[in-house]
Amino acid sequence: MSASNEAFRTCDVTGFRVHRPAEWLIRVNAVAAVVCVLIGGIYGLLVALTRWPAVHLLDAAWYYRALSGHGLNMLIFWIIFFEVAGLYFGSAVVLNSRIAAPKVGWLAFILMVAGALLVNVSILRGKADVLMTSYPPLKAEPMYYLGVILFAVGALLAVILFFATLVVAKREKTYQGSVPLFTFGLTAAAIIAIFTLAHGAAIYVPTFLWSIGLLPGIDPAIYRTVWWGLGHPSQQINVAAMISIWYLIGTLTVGSKPVNEKVCRGAFLLYILFINLASAHHLLVDPGVSSTWKVWNTSYAMYLAVVASMIHAYTVPAAIELAQRRKGYNKSLFEWLRKAPWGNPAVAGMALSVFVFGFLGGLTGPILGTEQVNIIAHNTYRITGHFHGTVVGGTTLAFMALSYYIVPLIFRRQIAFPKLANLQVWLFGLGVAGLSATMMLAGSYGVPRRHWDIAFSGAPFGVEVNPAAYMWLALMGISAIIAAIGGALYCLIAVVTVFFGKRMDSPKDLTYPVSAPAPDAGTGIAPSL
């Protein structure tokens, strides 16, 4: 059953037929994402100002509460709400299709909002100071686990709706040839999401039953093994989505086209096949699993996933270089880079995202995932520095960069404070780069992750930490403040644009132009261009 024409509008910028129910679902999920990044960002600043020993802002109880809230809101709620908006955009909008079942989309949204609310209330009540991993025997109140389960069920429904929309688009022939690379990458993310959420159900449902007294206990070793089948692949959903966004931003801003579609798609396939095994690197010091299992998963399977990232590390900038050279920027090695549209925050945000993800987050991942190094680095602040490079400097910044296109195209509003938008991505990108690097440097001196007070003040025994670590922690605090200002500006710009921004009447009103395809670079994202 196809939707009536009244249910669609034609985008005057991209030429896409936009299904209005899909547009509304994208809007509400995007707004929920911004609310979560604001809450998670406030928690994050409080955490950073506590880990800065000279400030040491919160007491121990509130520190662990804020750390739990920071992890859940940033790593789960903000990112998954944004990804769900991206899944609907990449299926219904990019494929010119109707969304398969809008009511399911709304049910998914309601479940996700209810889940996020329950978790946040539970944390604020002080009944879930269990940090994001919630390792047993730490136990939260049942409402916390119920919130996580509701959110996960909602996210699963959204992923199923994405696949259903792909089927509808194929059956109703709303596009020609293969799906675009952006949609293909999101499909990889969605497949990873399915088995990630299956792990989540396998561990959170019994943990919930334990919390209400129906199960006598949860084996901590089994919990950790299964939980990391959720914990790490969920970050790989982000990586697949982030890389899809890098390709999309290249197309939107400089008219680029992948240098080789088959290679790019093959790299996404490697993620699907190997990334779940790579989550074994979280268990390298765990006595519950054998050395053979650890070595196989982290020295073979993990490197096949890393190969995929290395392929994208070449193909993403190469596509941009090729497009720029075809526009005539051929002088010297780097004229194409110098003459990129740096005044566009999507370009600056993507470039910083590629740099921070590659040099700080990506590069350190295989190093920390090597068993010999992991013995030294496990549970130090080096790990926290690594994943702030990947999921904050990489994923979150890429999502922010794409917002400067998605918000005008979907909300039909001009971006508020465009000059501030450019400053925003630089502040956030450089702040997070500093945050990630200083966390890793402090961790290399043995500073533990998560800990409220590395000096163990008041304890009956003394712990000596190299004084250099205190300097890195101070610089970490300063970097966190810079990143928090960048994050706050993002929320301000998003809220003012969505609710008070000037309405767009024609493509000329678009704050940042959509680039025409580079010469001889194919048709680009929008055939009408």
Partner: protein, 46 residues
């Protein structure tokens, strides 16, 4: 973004990216070996 890419192109059309990737690989190698320096020490001792 849709359909086929530029599969038929040949030669190094993206020298700048090649240099960036080489820089990345060099930093990667130094960082990795730096972390494994105790292994290297053990090897030299032997």
């Amino acid at each position: 973004m849709s359909g086929k890419g530029n599969e038929k192109e040949h030669g190094i059309e993206t020298p700048g990216t090649m240099v960036l990737v080489l820089i990345f690989l060099t930093v990667f190698a130094i960082a990795f070996l730096g972390n494994l320096k105790w292994l290297a020490t053990a090897w030299w001792v032997k």
